[in-house]
């Protein structure tokens, strides 16, 4: 081969190698360029999310029901290849070695995602950690927004609590943009209005160098604070209810009659939402769930019992509306009536003598209402009970509600396959037998009777913009007037069954009730077999603003066990409201004064 040819060959080799280099460049820069561009951005950019402060929940008088508190967690950027001295680390963060190892070796840990070692450190612990943090590269402390519930158990079923997302929640689209350790509402209003309270987390995009040192802030999107929520409840009223119940279990639900606002909703015994802030331990959770007093059960929505004599309000309304009685109709109560081989007794064994509607309500005469029930028939009672909101979900939305039960001939035929007996009508007329209600239904019914027959959709928000009406039944004003007078008499007249509820602050009307506990008649005794006590109330009775129901588990008689609680709750509401009004008036005066002085300056 001569020289020239060799040189030519050399040129071809050079050209060939150039072609290879160009192809490689094309592969990296053109075909895979996008991938490498992302990798270089990933190298360079650190994205730090800034948590949004959660909206504050206040009661109708502006009292904060929750506080945002800083909450510290310690994390480690763990590299399995490099390993870590778990023993020293354990003493360092104040955990057991095994706990740390368990956390680091969890299967769902992904590389480059920090592992949470401990949650909810105190400020002192954080200070101690910060001082020695350089001993453990990769360890860092994250500050999150936590919650504190200053009223503890009071109103806990309404306010609720926060917790880490459950696996189901992290899958759901509602939470899809949230970091895995975000605290979200798990109960009560915290859960119901979570999307509003949550706010939008902000983020910082920071350019970092190869050693992770921050170079400059490229973008800073501030966190959007969550919306504050003003609840319709009056925490003072809730507190009064909790105090009045003492050790008893039960529930109270109070509505604002014309708007459907929930003024109070207590279920006792309650739980302390502060227990959940740092993530409740499984022991504590099991003891809450296993507690025989069922603190996690919302009795206001989930207790379902016969309403007892409080149901006589329905029977009275139905009787008047259907024209089977007039205010002057009289029934002679001799302590009971016989029907076939059964005897239906009045609670007063001696009888009430000649009874009109007013006296029947005041003294809760069973015989009078047996007669009204007999004249109406069960289907008329069904018509008015359901029209006034019983036997169906109220639509509060806080939790699953129980439906209650208002029986009818149709119901018995389809569900039991049996004929309806007149005796069952008599039992239903005084709120016993098949009839079952929840405390919230009974409170809503009382509100409906007080506002002219409108069944409103309950709301937990103060001054709702649109008041949703679930149903309306046209009731004659005279009917309503007569029922109101009857309710007033129960509390305020001699011989009324709830004289203890008489208040000097506001004129209260109400109706007592007792739900019989099965087994009592069989001669069994003990607290388990004491009757449940009911009381429904309205105030002021002339022009009702508040309607409520009280339910006391094994409380005995409604007049003695439930009525005093209703009285304290109503008094607390009107006193708080008075105070609020006074405050507002002072502010108005001040504003007027400053306006005047402004004018004088000109």
């Amino acid at each position: 081969m001569d020289t020239r040819k060799k040189i030519q060959l050399g040129s071809f080799i050079i050209a060939g190698i150039f072609a290879v280099l160009c192809l490689r460049l094309m592969q990296l820069q053109v075909l895979e360029g996008d991938k490498y561009r992302k990798l270089s951005e990933g190298n360079r950019l650190k994205i730090v999310s800034t948590p949004a402060p959660r909206g504050i929940i206040v009661d109708r008088n502006g009292v904060p029901l929750v506080n945002n508190i800083p909450m510290y967690s310690v994390y480690i950027m763990y590299d399995p290849a490099k390993g870590v001295d778990t023993e020293t680390l354990a003493s360092f963060v104040g955990l057991e070695k095994q706990e740390i190892e368990a956390k680091l070796s969890r299967k769902d840990n992904s590389p480059f995602v920090p592992v949470e070692l401990k949650h909810g450190l105190s400020f002192q612990e954080v200070a101690r950690l910060e001082a020695r943090r350089s001993d453990f590269p990769g360890l860092f402390i994250q500050t999150d927004v936590g919650r504190e519930y200053p009223f503890g158990k009071v109103g806990a079923h309404i306010i609720g609590y926060l917790g880490k997302m459950t696996p189901t929640q992290s899958e759901s689209p509602e939470f899809h943009n949230l970091p895995p350790d975000t605290l979200v509402g798990q109960w009560g209003v915290e859960s119901l209005y979570d999307s509003q309270l949550r706010g939008v987390a902000g983020g910082k995009v920071i350019e970092v160098d190869a050693l992770g040192r921050e170079q400059r802030l490229l973008r800073d999107k501030p966190a959007e604070r969550g919306k504050d929520i003003t609840l319709s409840i009056d925490i003072g009223m809730q507190k009064a209810v909790e105090d009045a119940f003492g050790e008893k279990a039960g529930a109270l639900v109070a509505f604002k009659v014309d708007t459907g606002e929930v003024l109070a909703l207590e279920s006792l015994p309650s739980f302390d939402p502060n227990q959940f802030i740092h993530g409740i331990s499984s022991e504590d959770w099991n003891s809450l769930i296993g507690d025989k007093h069922k603190p996690m059960m919302n009795r206001a929505l989930q207790s379902q019992y016969p309403p007892g004599s409080t149901f006589k309000i329905i029977t009275a309304v139905a009787g008047l509306e259907e024209g089977v009685i007039t205010p002057d109709s009289k029934v002679n109560c001799t302590g009971g009536i016989s029907y076939g081989k059964w005897t239906f007794g009045c609670w007063r064994h001696g009888g009430h003598g000649l009874v009109s509607l007013h006296k029947a309500i005041r003294e809760s005469c069973d015989v009078y209402f047996y007669e009204v029930g007999r004249r109406l028939g069960i289907d008329n009672i069904y018509k008015y009970a359901t029209a006034l909101g019983l036997g169906s979900d109220t639509g509060l939305g806080l939790q699953q509600e129980r439906q209650g039960l208002i029986p009818s001939t149709e119901w018995k035929r389809s569900k039991r396959g049996q004929e309806w007996y007149l005796g069952e009508t008599l039992n239903a007329a005084i709120g016993q037998g098949y009839v079952a209600v929840t405390p919230i239904q009974l409170a809503l019914m009382t509100a409906a009777v007080s506002n002219g027959g409108r069944v409103l959709k309950p709301t937990l928000i103060k001054d709702p913009k649109d008041i949703q009406q679930r149903s309306k039944i046209d009731l004659k004003p005279e009917t309503l007037q007569l029922v109101r007078e009857g309710l007033s008499a129960v509390v305020n007249e001699e011989g009324g069954t709830a004289g203890v509820a008489k208040s000097t602050i506001v004129k209260i009307g109400g109706k007592t009730g007792t739900a019989q506990v099965v087994g009592k008649n069989k001669g069994l005794s003990g607290e388990k077999y004491i009757d449940h006590a009911w009381f429904v109330a309205v105030a002021p009775v002339e022009k009702p603003e508040v309607a409520l129901s009280v339910f006391v588990e094994h409380g005995g008689h409604g007049g003695s066990a439930a009525a005093p609680i209703a009285k304290k709750a109503i008094e607390a509401y009107f006193m708080n409201k008075g105070l609020g009004k006074e405050k507002m008036d002072t502010a108005k005066v001040k504003a007027a004064v400053s306006k005047e002085s402004d004018n004088a300056d000109r």
């Binding site: 081969m1 020289t3 020239r4 060799k6 040189i7 050399g10 040129s11 050079i14 050209a15 190698i17 150039f18 280099l21 160009c22 490689r24 460049l25 094309m26 990296l28 820069q29 053109v30 895979e32 360029g33 996008d34 991938k35 490498y36 561009r37 990798l39 270089s40 951005e41 190298n43 360079r44 290849a81 350019e207 970092v208 160098d209 190869a210 050693l211 170079q215 400059r216």
Partner: protein, 373 residues
């Protein structure tokens, strides 16, 4: 020695222009690669130093072209002797940097003798081969193999300067083939080498420094340890790939200044350039180099004598080997060996020696029509 008009007319301005343009692209890229982090002091003076070296190098190049390369031929053996001595000196009293003794401290400046040794080697070996005559084709005498092959190779591996050693092997083969060593012998040698690899492989492996072993492992599998030994290759590929079609724009690259890329202004400067200028920029740069290499070969073809032809081939091959190994390394196609990109990487000695080599090349082309005196 007079400078006549013919010599100015025949002067290889194109090669000179190409290497100056390449060096200026280098200065620009060095500036970008070493620009400071925000709030971390001012611009470092690497680019300024490189500019000063460029000026010195141009002067050196003109001085070289003033002399006929016949003087290099005549002085080749003494010069080669000096080169070998320098390699010995560096072994005995060299300054250690990154686990290797390559630098010689001369008070004010320190320099790498191997940078100049490679040129002395080309001159001497080309001269030696040209004395063998056309009729002795087929083999190189044993003493030639020892003096120009084994001796420098051992000295370089001892430093260790793997890059220059590989270059020397490549130049030895290229020059031997150009001279016309029989293909049979070369094929036999290659076969022998291939068979020998499994036997001497572990000896070779044990002789490597740890960082050299790591580089080889990382080349085989960069994902082995992305933050460790595979780091250089991965970050280099990220820098180049992220340039995409037209680059991020001058002074907008991030891999270098944010220190993700190691040796950003020396060995990995091509990655910095690629990130900012993209595929389009890379093709243009490669195009300039291609012209340089093809013109080098053309010079060889036009050289008036055999020693000129062999020197031109040696110098062109040297530039090309450096270019391919460096670019191949930054592209993740070859293991990381500390080899710079000719004319573009930062480094004074290297730039000066490359300009001297280019000066010889220009000298050969300029005197292509002249006869021996």
């Amino acid at each position: 020695m007079q400078i006549d008009r013919r010599r100015i007319k025949n002067f290889d301005w194109i090669t000179l222009l190409i290497i100056i343009v390449l060096t200026l692209i280098g200065v620009m890229t060095i500036y970008s690669a070493t620009r400071p982090l925000i709030g971390m002091g001012g611009q470092s003076d690497f680019y300024m130093k490189q500019l000063i070296w460029l000026a010195l190098s141009i002067v050196a190049l003109f001085v070289i072209t003033l002399f006929d390369y016949i003087w290099l031929y005549r002085l080749s053996y003494p010069l080669y002797g000096v080169g070998i001595v320098l390699l010995l000196v560096v072994l005995v009293m060299g300054k250690t940097s990154m686990g290797a003794q390559r630098w010689l401290n001369l008070g004010l400046l320190s320099f790498q003798p191997s940078e100049f040794f490679r040129i002395l080697f080309i001159i001497a070996f080309s001269s030696y081969l040209s004395t063998l005559g056309q009729d002795s084709t087929g083999r190189i005498p044993l003493k030639g193999v020892i003096v120009f092959g084994l001796l420098p190779l051992i000295l370089l591996i001892k430093q260790p300067d793997l890059g220059t050693a590989i270059l020397l092997l490549a130049l030895f083969s290229v020059l031997a083939i150009s001279k016309g060593i029989s293909r049979k012998i070369i094929v036999l040698a290659l076969l022998f080498g291939l068979i020998a690899i499994p036997f001497v492989g572990h000896i070779f492996w044990d002789g490597l420094k740890d960082y050299q072993k790591n580089r080889l492992i990382a080349f085989m599998d960069p994902e082995v340890d992305p933050a460790g030994i595979g780091y250089h290759i991965n970050q280099s590929k990220i820098a180049i790939g992220s340039g995409e079609l037209i680059g991020k724009g001058y002074l907008n690259g991030t891999q270098g200044p944010l220190r993700f890329l190691p040796e950003k202004h020396t060995d990995f400067i091509f990655a910095v350039f690629s990130e900012e200028w993209g595929f389009a920029g890379c093709l243009s740069l490669l195009g300039i180099y291609l012209v340089l290499f093809l013109r080098g070969l053309d010079t060889a073809a036009k050289a008036k004598d055999e020693v000129g032809r062999l020197m031109a081939i040696g110098i062109t091959a040297m530039f090309f080997v450096y270019f391919v190994v460096n670019i191949g390394m930054t592209l993740g196609m070859m293991p990381v060996v500390g080899i710079t990109l000719p004319f573009i990487s930062y480094g004074g000695t290297s730039l000066l020696s490359n300009f001297i080599a280019a000066g010889i090349l220009i000298s050969i082309r300029t005197r292509r029509f002249e006869l021996f005196y």
